[in-house]
C-alpha cells in the first residue's frame, strides 16, 4: 500500500506515525528490486544503507517534531541532475562513470526539504527524445499495456520517461523531471501521471546537465496536482548561481489546488485542432472543456497563429544550443575518453563513441544552423519566430487566464513505432513545444483512458509565473476526471 500513496497522504501518514519513513523507503526499494529489471526506470539505485540512513534521519525529525515539507518522502531524480557522490550519466556513455562532486540546486533544495532519494531515473540521452529509447542504458518500458496486446512493449514517452514510469508503477512517490520541449508533460501523459513544467526561470538550472539552456526547466512529476504544487514549492526559488533564474518569491503552490475556478476564462486555441489528431484525443479534449465549463469556467476560442512554426523553430534553437552545450564533453577533464594520436583524434573518437545517434544528429543539426552563411536563414529567423510565438501567448493571455489543449497527439506508442522517420518522432512534441518556446508554465493532467486502456492527458498552459492559476484549473480538471487507474505493471498489482 505504501507505494501507492500520494506525497500528501504519505506526509500525513508519517506525521501521524502510521508508518515510518524507514518502512516507506524499504517498500520502495523492494518495489524497485522487483520491477526495475523489467521497467528499467532507474539507471542507478541508491544503496539501501544510504536510503535507510536518510529515512532514519527523517524518522528522527518526525519524532522531534522538526519534520520538513518533504520529510521522508521517497523521490526519484532524473539522471540529468548532478547529485553529489552519486553517479550522474545523462543516460550517455560519455558520462557513464561520472560522479559529480556537487549537488544541483534543485536536488539540494529537495534534500533540504527532507526528501529521501531512492535513485537516478532513466531518460533519453541528454534529454533528447520523446520515447526514452535513446538512453545508453537501455529503453524504459511503459508500465501500461494495451488491452488485448499485452505483449507489445510501449514507450513511456520522453525524455523524462524513467521518472514517469517510476511514479506510475510505484517505484517512487514522485520524481523530478526536466522539460525542454515537452519532456515532463508528454511522458506524464503517456504514463497517466501529473507533470508540471514551471515558468522558465522558476527553478534554478545550476547543476542540471544542459540540453538547450534557453528552454530547459526542471519540474515535478507526481500522482496528483496538489503533489505537483507541494514538490514545486520545494524545488523553486532564486539562485544567484543561475543568471536566468527569477528572483520572484515562491508562492504556496499547493494551496492553489482546490481553489474555485469559477469565472476563470479558459482559452481553446484553434490551431491545436491539428489535422490527424486522433478522434479519441479530440473527444477527451471536448470532455475536458465540458468539465471546466461545469466547474464555472468561461470557455473562449482563441488563436495562437504562429503555433504551426513551433516545432520547426524548436528544432533549430534546441539543437543550436545543444551543439554548443555538449562541446564540453571532450574526454579531457571528466567522463569517458578514447585515446588517439592527435588532439583532434581524441575529440573525434571520444565523441563518436560517447554520444548516441540522436545526440549526434542534433549536434550536427545545431552546428549546421549556426554555421556561417546559414545563421541568418535558420538560427536568427528561428529567434524571430520565437518572439512571435511568445507574443501569441501574451496576447492570448490578455483574453483568457489559461489555455486548455491535449498534451500529446496520441497515447503511448509501441517501441519500434515512429522510429523510421525522426520527424514523425518529433511530431510528438507538437502541443508541448510552443509553451516551452514562450517560457510559460504548463501542466499535464491525466483525465481518462483511450479504447485500449491507455492514459490520456490534457495540458493547461498559464501566464508567465502564474503556476497558481494553472494548478487551480488542473485541480478542477483532476477532480472532475477522477482518474484513479493504475498501470498493469505496478508495485501493488499482486505480483
Amino acid at each position: 500500500m505504501l507505494t501507492g500513496l500520494t506525497l500528501t497522504q504519505a506526509r500525513e501518514g508519517l506525521a501521524a506515525r502510521k508508518f515510518s519513513a524507514r518502512e516507506l523507503a524499504k517498500a520502495h526499494l523492494d518495489a524497485i528490486a522487483r520491477l526495475n529489471p523489467k521497467l528499467n526506470a532507474y539507471i542507478t539505485v541508491i544503496p539501501e544503507a544510504d536510503v535507510l540512513a536518510a529515512a532514519d534521519a527523517a524518522d528522527a525529525r518526525y519524532a522531534a517534531g522538526t519534520a520538513r515539507p518533504m520529510e521522508g518522502l521517497p523521490v526519484g531524480v532524473k539522471d540529468l541532475f548532478c547529485t553529489k557522490g552519486v553517479k550522474t550519466t545523462a543516460a550517455s556513455k560519455i558520462l557513464a562513470n561520472f560522479v559529480p562532486p556537487y549537488e544541483s540546486t534543485v536536488t539540494a533544495r529537495l534534500l533540504d526539504a527532507g526528501s529521501v532519494f531512492v535513485g537516478k531515473t532513466n531518460l533519453d540521452e541528454f534529454a533528447m527524445g520523446s520515447a526514452n529509447i535513446t538512453s545508453a542504458f537501455g529503453s524504459v518500458l511503459n508500465p501500461w499495456q494495451r488491452k488485448g496486446e499485452e505483449t507489445v512493449a510501449l514507450v513511456p514517452g520522453g525524455s523524462s520517461g524513467g521518472s514517469a514510469a517510476a511514479v506510475a508503477a510505484g517505484l517512487a512517490l514522485a520524481a523530478t523531471g526536466t522539460d525542454t520541449g515537452g519532456s515532463i508533460r508528454q511522458p506524464a501523459a503517456f504514463c497517466g501521471i501529473v507533470g508540471l513544467k514551471p515558468t522558465y526561470g522558476r527553478c534554478s538550472r545550476w547543476g542540471t546537465i544542459a540540453y538547450a539552456s534557453s528552454l530547459d526547466q526542471a519540474g515535478p512529476m507526481t500522482r496528483t496536482v496538489a503533489d505537483a504544487g507541494l514538490m514545486l514549492e520545494a524545488m523553486a526559488g532564486f539562485d544567484e548561481k543561475d543568471s536566468t533564474c527569477s528572483n520572484r518569491p515562491v508562492p504556496a503552490f499547493a494551496q492553489a489546488v482546490g481553489k474555485s475556478v469559477k469565472g476563470l476564462r479558459v482559452g481553446i486555441p484553434a490551431e491545436y485542432r491539428a489535422p490527424g489528431l486522433s478522434p479519441e484525443i479530440s473527444a477527451m479534449w471536448e470532455q475536458g472543456i465540458a468539465w471546466l465549463r461545469e466547474a464555472g469556467c468561461e470557455i473562449v476560442d482563441v488563436s495562437l497563429p504562429h503555433t504551426k512554426y513551433g516545432l520547426a523553430t524548436y528544432y533549430i534553437i534546441a539543437p543550436a544550443e545543444c551543439s554548443s552545450n555538449l562541446a564540453r564533453y571532450d574526454g579531457i577533464r571528466f567522463g569517458e575518453r578514447k585515446d588517439a594520436a592527435t588532439l583532434d583524434g581524441v575529440y573525434e573518437l571520444t565523441r563518436a563513441e560517447g554520444f548516441g545517434e540522436e545526440v549526434r544528429n542534433r549536434i550536427l543539426m545545431g552546428t549546421y544552423v549556426l554555421s556561417a552563411g546559414y545563421y541568418d536563414a535558420y538560427y536568427l529567423k528561428a529567434q524571430k519566430v520565437r518572439t512571435l510565438i511568445k507574443r501569441d501567448f501574451v496576447q492570448a493571455f490578455e483574453q483568457v487566464d489559461v489555455l486548455l489543449t491535449p498534451t500529446a497527439p496520441s497515447a503511448a506508442f509501441a517501441q519500434g513505432e515512429n522510429m523510421a522517420d525522426p520527424v514523425q518522432m518529433y511530431l510528438n512534441d507538437i502541443f508541448t513545444v510552443p509553451a516551452s518556446m514562450a517560457g510559460v508554465p504548463a501542466l499535464s493532467v491525466p483525465v481518462g483512458l483511450d479504447a485500449k486502456g491507455l492514459p490520456l492527458g490534457l495540458q493547461i498552459i498559464g501566464r508567465h509565473f502564474d503556476e497558481e492559476t494553472v494548478l487551480s484549473v488542473g485541480g478542477a480538471l483532476e477532480a472532475a476526471a477522477g482518474f484513479a487507474h493504475t498501470p498493469t505493471l505496478h508495485a501493488e498489482a499482486g505480483a
Partner: protein
C-alpha cells in the same frame, strides 16, 4: 612621421590596426569566483565553472564590468548601456567549455580614440573601434613530458578586454607609441597591469600595404605578439614580405601568421581555408548586460587623472616644460613622486632634481621609483633647505648623495656634516681678507682692469669656506673689497 617602403614599382605605405588583449585587474574571474593571481601552482585556481563541469553556469563579475567601463571612459569612448555575451565555438584543449564567452556583436564599449606622440614631437589621433570583454583560455604545457601535453586552467576564465584600433597606424613607430600610450592609460586607470612579459597584455597585429591613394589591400593578422619591440619588428618584416609578393606579381593571402623573433620573420599559422567557423550565437546562459547611466557617471566621477591631463596640469601648475612633463607622467608612480616633491615648492627646481639627480641615482643603484633610496618627502625637505638658505645648490648635491647612500634625512646630514651655509659676514669678510692677502699680485691685476679674475676670487673664497659660504654674500662682499 611617414614610414614608406621604396619598392621596385614605387613607394608603399603600410596600414596597421591592433587588437590588444588586456587582462582586467580583478580579484576573481569574469564568470567565476576563482582567483586571478599570477603564478599559482598549475590548476590551483580553477572552479568547476572554469573547468566546464556538467551543469555549471557563468555569473558575470560586476567588478570586471566596472573595469571595462572605466577603460572605455579613459579611451574617450562611447559606453553601451546594453551589451551582450556571445559564444565563440571551437575545440581546443585549453578551452574547457568548447566555446569562449565573448562580446561579439554588441560590445560594452564603442568608438573612442587615443592621442599618440612621436619622437619628433608630432601627435596623432588613433581611432578605437571597440572594446569588449571576453574569457581567457587556459595554458598548454608541452615541455613537461616527452609524449604528453599538460593543461593549466588557472588562466581559464580570467577576464580580458579586447581593445580594437582602427587601421590608422602608418608606421612601426606609431604602433609602438600606441601600445605605450594604451598601456600607460590602462595602468593609470588600474584596469590592467600591462605586463607583456607575464602575458597580461598581448597584441594581434593586422598589417597590409598599399600605394598612395589606393583602397586597402589584403591584410594578414600576426597573432599574440608579446612585446612592443616585437610588434614593431613584426610590422617591418611583414610589410616587407607583402611588398615583395605584390611586386613579384603575386597575391597576398588573407591569413593568420606568427612572428618568430629569433629569425625576425613572420610565418603562416592558419590559411583562410583553415579559418575557424566560430558559430557565434548569444550565450543563452546569460541575460543581456544592462548597466545604468548613473552607475557609469559614478565610475566616471571617480576616475583618476589621466596622463594627458596630468601633463597639461604639470605644465600649468609647476611650470614644467612640455618634454619634461611627458617624462614625468610616463608612469604614474613617477608623476606622484614628482608632485609630492613639487607641491608648494619651486616646480622647475623639483623637475630638475627628479629627472636629473634622482633618475641618475636610480639608474646607478638599479632601483625603481617605487623603492627609491630617497623618498619624495626627503627630497622635498632638501629643496626646502635650499629655499631657506640653509644650504646652497652645490652643497645640496653632496647632501643628496649622502641621502642616497644612507637614507638619512637632509636635516640630519646637514647637521652631522656641518654643511650649514655660512651667512656670517664676519666669517666671509675674514676669509676674503685672507685670500686677498695671499694673492696680492692678482688683486693688483684685477684692479688694473682684469675683471675676469673676479671668478677666481669667488672660487678661492668658497674653497676657504669649504663651499659653505652663501655665494650671494660672497659676491657682494668681494665686490666691495676689491673695488674699494
Amino acid at each position: 612621421m611617414s614610414y614608406l617602403i621604396e619598392g621596385k614599382t614605387g613607394t608603399w605605405e603600410i596600414v596597421v590596426g591592433l587588437e590588444v588583449h588586456a587582462q582586467i585587474i580583478s580579484q576573481s574571474k569574469l564568470f567565476s569566483g576563482a582567483s586571478t593571481k599570477f603564478g599559482g601552482e598549475p590548476n590551483s585556481q580553477v572552479s568547476l565553472v572554469d573547468a566546464a563541469f556538467p551543469g555549471m553556469l557563468p555569473v558575470i563579475n560586476r567588478e570586471c564590468v566596472a573595469q571595462a567601463v572605466r577603460t572605455g571612459l579613459g579611451l574617450n569612448a562611447r559606453i553601451n548601456l546594453q551589451s551582450r555575451f556571445d559564444r565563440k565555438n571551437y575545440f581546443y584543449a585549453d578551452l574547457p567549455q568548447g566555446y569562449q564567452i565573448s562580446q561579439f556583436e554588441h560590445p560594452i564599449v564603442g568608438e573612442g580614440s587615443i592621442e599618440i606622440e612621436l619622437a619628433n614631437g608630432e601627435t596623432r589621433q588613433i581611432g578605437i573601434t571597440r572594446l569588449h570583454m571576453e574569457q581567457d583560455a587556459g595554458k598548454l604545457l608541452h615541455d613537461q613530458d616527452p609524449t604528453r601535453s599538460f593543461v593549466d586552467l588557472n588562466r581559464s576564465g580570467v577576464a580580458l578586454m579586447e581593445i580594437v584600433s582602427e587601421p590608422d597606424i602608418r608606421a612601426p613607430e606609431e604602433a609602438g607609441a600606441y601600445l605605450r600610450k594604451l598601456r600607460q592609460i590602462l595602468r593609470y586607470l588600474g584596469t590592467c597591469d600591462g605586463n607583456m612579459d607575464e602575458g597580461s597584455m598581448r597584441a594581434d597585429v593586422n598589417v597590409s600595404v598599399r600605394k598612395a591613394g589606393e583602397p586597402f589591400r589584403t591584410r594578414c593578422e600576426i597573432k599574440n605578439v608579446n612585446s612592443i619591440r616585437f610588434v614593431m619588428q613584426a610590422i617591418e618584416a611583414e610589410a616587407a614580405r607583402q611588398v615583395e609578393i605584390w611586386e613579384n606579381g603575386g597575391e597576398v593571402d588573407q591569413e593568420t601568421r606568427l612572428f618568430d623573433p629569433s629569425r625576425g620573420e613572420t610565418r603562416t599559422m592558419r590559411s583562410k581555408e583553415d579559418a575557424h567557423d566560430y558559430r557565434y550565437f548569444p550565450d543563452p546562459d546569460l541575460l543581456p548586460l544592462v548597466i545604468e547611466q548613473a552607475w557609469v557617471d559614478g565610475l566616471k566621477a571617480e576616475l583618476p587623472e589621466l596622463p594627458d591631463a596630468k601633463r597639461a596640469r604639470f605644465q600649468a601648475d609647476y611650470g614644467v616644460p612640455f618634454y619634461d612633463a611627458g617624462v614625468l607622467v610616463a608612469e604614474q608612480s613617477v608623476a606622484d613622486f614628482f608632485e609630492t616633491v613639487a607641491k608648494g615648492r619651486d616646480g622647475k627646481l623639483a623637475v630638475t632634481w627628479v629627472t636629473g639627480d634622482l633618475f641618475a641615482a636610480l639608474n646607478r643603484t638599479s632601483r625603481t621609483i617605487e623603492n627609491s633610496p630617497v623618498s619624495a618627502d626627503s627630497l622635498g625637505k632638501m629643496l626646502d633647505l635650499i629655499a631657506d638658505g640653509t644650504i646652497n645648490g652645490k652643497i645640496a648635491k653632496e647632501v643628496f648623495e649622502d641621502m642616497v647612500e644612507t637614507g638619512e634625512s637632509p636635516d640630519a646630514i646637514v647637521e652631522k656634516k656641518g654643511l650649514r651655509q655660512v651667512t656670517d659676514t664676519g666669517v666671509i669678510d675674514s676669509a676674503i681678507d685672507a685670500i686677498m692677502a695671499k694673492h696680492a699680485d692678482k688683486v693688483a691685476e684685477y684692479r688694473s682692469g682684469k675683471d675676469k679674475l673676479f671668478g677666481f676670487f669667488v672660487g678661492q673664497v668658497m674653497k676657504e669656506t669649504k663651499g659653505k659660504a652663501n655665494p650671494a654674500l660672497v659676491n657682494e662682499a668681494l665686490k666691495g673689497k676689491l673695488d674699494a
